[in-house]
């Protein structure tokens, strides 16, 4: 039997509220830049909160070459931009690859919500006869990977995994399996979500949106900040990456996925599902708990999430939990929904590459119930060979990815 091939990350692309492209994004993270502001894309006058993390300077025409920007939604535009950045970052010459063995796997929370929002606007205005115009071409969430594939002329498997706020991790996990099984040579894996009225309304109604600041693990944290963005990782087999002389950021060592089967919107009170996902990821990767050097937390900044996430990490790592640096980049980016865990996976890859951990910003008074090392307010230089990326979602979906430094 053939040995299972190692899968490596050779390209990173992201479009986020604090920066676009690997370098700009990483510099912003290390500097602790925050991307929040009053919501611009729709009126929040009827809401009790007004804070959002939108990307204000995004120009689709700078990135989308082949498709017409007018007919595709904003999530697709963000995704195409991040995918092209990842390809360029990987120095991959598209003319040299077999397009039928190049695929795209994307995670999302809402897909292309602007199309159903337009439907609803027309509907409530009484224009039911035209409400559905353009809906099928623009709305169903799988159009996002399809648009990326059409833009890049990739002809392998295209898949959307809409597992809400953990979706990016699911997409990367699946893409690594597709490569391991030999179904493709190149996979673009990531996540994308545009700023959505529906999502904002829902989180506002849950009382989950912070009025001024996202402060994960702080005693005075008041919630998350909905955001938008896209992140892609270019994945390929290690032997192929070495043969083409690619720069290797890290290996995708393994993953763990589980379901709480407990509550749609609240995590398990004892962190059972989240812990099972972390344990499964370590087991699949052949990595011991004491080898984990960094955890990129889900860390939304809501009172409940951060408390229960701390419990889950302690349940998994025991006393070791106090020695592992943990940070939440959502303190800077806000919560980019389905894109979040894909962008955070890129953070793990960069932490391994730069041997540096981005901070949890706005952490001034640590919650005694969140008593781990959350790397407050200042980036930290340290040894990172193994990084764990955790993400959780509505539906009780838990996910942990493990990235490891790649030995030559």
């Amino acid at each position: 039997m053939n040995s299972v091939p190692s899968i490596v990350v050779t390209g990173l692309g992201m479009v986020t509220p604090i920066g676009t492209g690997r370098e700009e994004f990483w510099n912003a993270l290390i500097a602790g830049k925050c991307g929040f502001g009053p919501v611009q894309s729709f009126s929040t006058s009827g809401y009790s909160v007004h804070l959002g993390a939108e990307i204000l300077d995004f120009e689709p025409k700078d990135h989308v070459v082949r498709l017409r920007t007018r007919v595709i939604g904003r999530s697709s535009q963000l995704a195409i931009a991040a995918a092209r950045l990842a390809l360029a970052d990987a120095s991959l010459d598209l003319e040299t690859i077999d397009r039928s063995r190049a695929g795209v796997c994307v995670g999302t929370t809402s897909g292309e919500p602007h199309f159903i929002e337009r439907f609803d606007d027309r509907y409530v205005q009484g224009d039911i006869a035209n409400a559905g115009d353009g809906l099928i071409r623009g709305y169903p969430c799988h159009v996002v990977p399809s648009h990326v594939a059409a833009e890049l002329e990739f002809a392998g498997e295209t898949m959307m995994i809409p597992t809400a706020c953990a979706a990016g991790n699911y997409a990367i996990a699946h893409a690594s399996d597709v490569l391991r099984a030999g179904r493709a040579d190149i996979m673009l894996a990531g996540g994308a979500d545009c700023f959505s009225r529906i999502t904002y309304t829902g989180f506002a109604r849950l009382g989950a949106i912070a009025p001024e600041l996202c402060q994960p693990f702080d005693r005075n944290r008041k919630g998350m900040v909905p955001g938008e963005g896209a992140g892609f990782l270019l994945l390929e087999r290690k032997d192929q990456a070495i043969a083409r002389g690619a720069r290797i950021y890290c290996e995708v060592a393994g993953y763990g996925l589980s379901c709480d089967a407990h509550h749609m919107t609240a995590a398990h009170p004892r962190g059972e599902g989240a812990s099972r996902a972390m344990v499964m990821a370590m087991k699949q990767s052949g990595i011991a708990a004491e080898d984990v050097d960094y955890i990129s937390a889900h860390g939304t900044g809501t009172p409940t999430n951060d408390r229960l996430e701390t419990i889950a990490m302690k349940k998994t790592f025991g006393e070791l939990a106090y020695r592992i640096p943990v940070s939440s980049v959502k303190s800077m980016l806000g919560h980019t929904m389905g894109a979040a865990s894909a962008i955070e996976a890129a953070v793990c890859a960069l932490a391994i590459t730069h041997q540096q951990i981005p901070p949890t910003m706005n952490l001034h008074e640590q919650d005694p119930e969140c008593d781990l090392d959350f790397v407050p307010n200042q980036a930290r230089k340290c040894n990172v060979k193994v990084a764990m990326n955790n993400a959780y979602a509505f539906g009780g979906n838990n996910s942990s990815l493990l990235f490891t430094a790649s030995a030559a």
């Binding site: 799988h142 379901c259 509550h263 749609m264 979906n397």
Partner: protein, 417 residues
């Protein structure tokens, strides 16, 4: 490599809620009894498709309030209950072993999402319901079903348009073959709703059959589009050895799958992508085209997709395409989107066990551009062996799956060895 055993199935269709009843209605050439309100059809000329009028969730889902589940959630949770029962996964077993769920769906519930948004627009953002918000995520039905049945394993939702159900089966099969998973419910579901109907109608994809007796006929010369239906189908997939150890009755096997995308299709899946999906499914299964004993086509009455699929079958079977019998159950079920591929799989599995393949209801004269194929006009006997299932999306996605059926007798013999 690990093998993937199919140990049970559950379906929610207008033909009944057991694989046997579903298959026998298809073999009898029955048409789904859908209910389409005039208010839902609106300005559309299409009067075909609609809700499964007979679906009553409380028959299947007892003991807990149903209020938190929307229609998609209820259809999926009901199909899951039937599949768990059919495969012998009791609540006691689920308390000691983790099973997962992989659900293919095109829309989740676009009706729930749209209604939530419209309430915010008309009544104000503080009047939306938090419970409805939980169901606006596209993985809501999978999450609700996991809660209802205590499914703590991998819980994933796959959205690939009309190929979602088949893609979910392939995804789940690979988690068992390569990913160390031992038990996963997998399949697909989509509800019928006004929002989707309205979208498909304005995209010009629905049939123009406005007489209640007409129904779109795949491959026919008169085809003008599809009828939008609904349904759910979930199969219990288990790692073969584990299934044998627990004494499960093995109904069949997922042998392999493949998928492809047509980047140049501009909203249409060309024959090259459909052919690549079929060829990679055959390759993945380690079989030759000549070993396929029957095909369940994706064809639903669409003008271009049916033609492209027919040409692809002809090409993939390299001239022998007119020998292998081809059926198209969407002549009776209509297009059930995320459920379609999974419903086709359940029906074909049943065909491989009974040796009886349903015909294409209403097919007399195939369109002149349809190549010579063995299109079954009526139910017919088939050799059990390998069955091929196709799903072709509206937008460039194609997926194929290969299954084989294990007859109950054979299963018993294998156990006694």
């Amino acid at each position: 490599m690990k093998r993937v055993a199919i140990t049970g199935a559950g379906v929610i269709t207008s033909f009944g809620d057991s694989p046997a009843a579903f298959h026998s209605a298809l073999c009898n050439g029955e048409k789904a009894s859908y209910r389409l309100e005039d208010s839902e059809a609106g300005v559309s000329a299409c009067r075909q498709g609609g809700h499964i009028g007979s679906f009553q969730p409380e028959i299947y889902l007892k003991g807990k309030p149903l209020r938190a589940l929307d229609r998609t959630g209820r259809i999926v949770a009901a199909a899951a209950k039937l599949a768990l029962e059919n495969s012998g996964w009791t609540a006691e077993v689920l308390g000691t072993r983790d099973a997962g769920l992989v659900l293919g769906t095109m829309f989740g519930s676009v009706h729930t999402i749209s209604e939530f948004d419209r309430r915010g627009l008309t009544q104000g953002p503080s009047y939306v319901s938090p419970m409805d918000f939980a169901n606006t995520v596209l993985n809501a039905a999978a999450g609700q079903t996991a809660i209802w049945h205590n499914l703590r394993g991998i819980n994933s939702t796959i959205a690939c348009g009309a190929t979602s159900g088949l893609m979910a089966l392939g995804y789940a099969a690979d988690l068992i073959r390569h990913g160390g998973q031992t038990a996963l419910l997998a399949g697909g579901a989509d509800e019928f709703c006004f929002e989707a109907f309205c979208g498909f109608d304005q995209a010009g994809l629905l049939c123009r059959c406005n007489g209640h007796s007409e129904f779109p006929v795949p491959f026919s010369a008169q085809r003008s589009g599809f009828a939008l239906g609904e349904g759910a189908a979930l199969l219990m997939l288990e790692e073969w050895n584990e299934a044998e150890v627990r004494g499960a009755s093995i109904l069949g096997e997922i042998c392999g799958h493949g998928s492809a995308y047509d980047p140049a299709g501009n909203g249409e899946c060309g024959l090259d992508a459909i052919m690549r999906a079929m060829n990679s499914a055959l390759y993945d299964s380690g079989i030759r085209a000549a070993e396929v004993s029957c095909i369940s086509a994706s064809a639903n009455g669409s003008v271009f997709a049916d033609r492209n699929e027919a040409l692809a079958i002809r090409a993939a079977f390299n001239g022998s395409g007119d020998a292998v019998p081809v059926t198209a159950i969407k002549s009776m079920v209509g297009e059930a989107l995320g459920a379609s591929g999974a419903l086709q799989t359940v029906a074909l599995l049943q065909s491989m066990q009974t040796g009886l393949l349903p015909g294409i209801r209403g097919l007399e004269q195939p369109g002149p551009e349809i190549p010579a194929l063995n299109l079954c006009r009526r139910k017919q006997d088939i050799n059990t062996g390998f069955g091929l299932i196709n799903s072709v999306g509206f937008d460039g996605n194609a997926c194929s799956l290969v299954i084989s059926g294990a007859t109950p007798e054979l299963n018993r013999e294998m156990k006694s060895l």
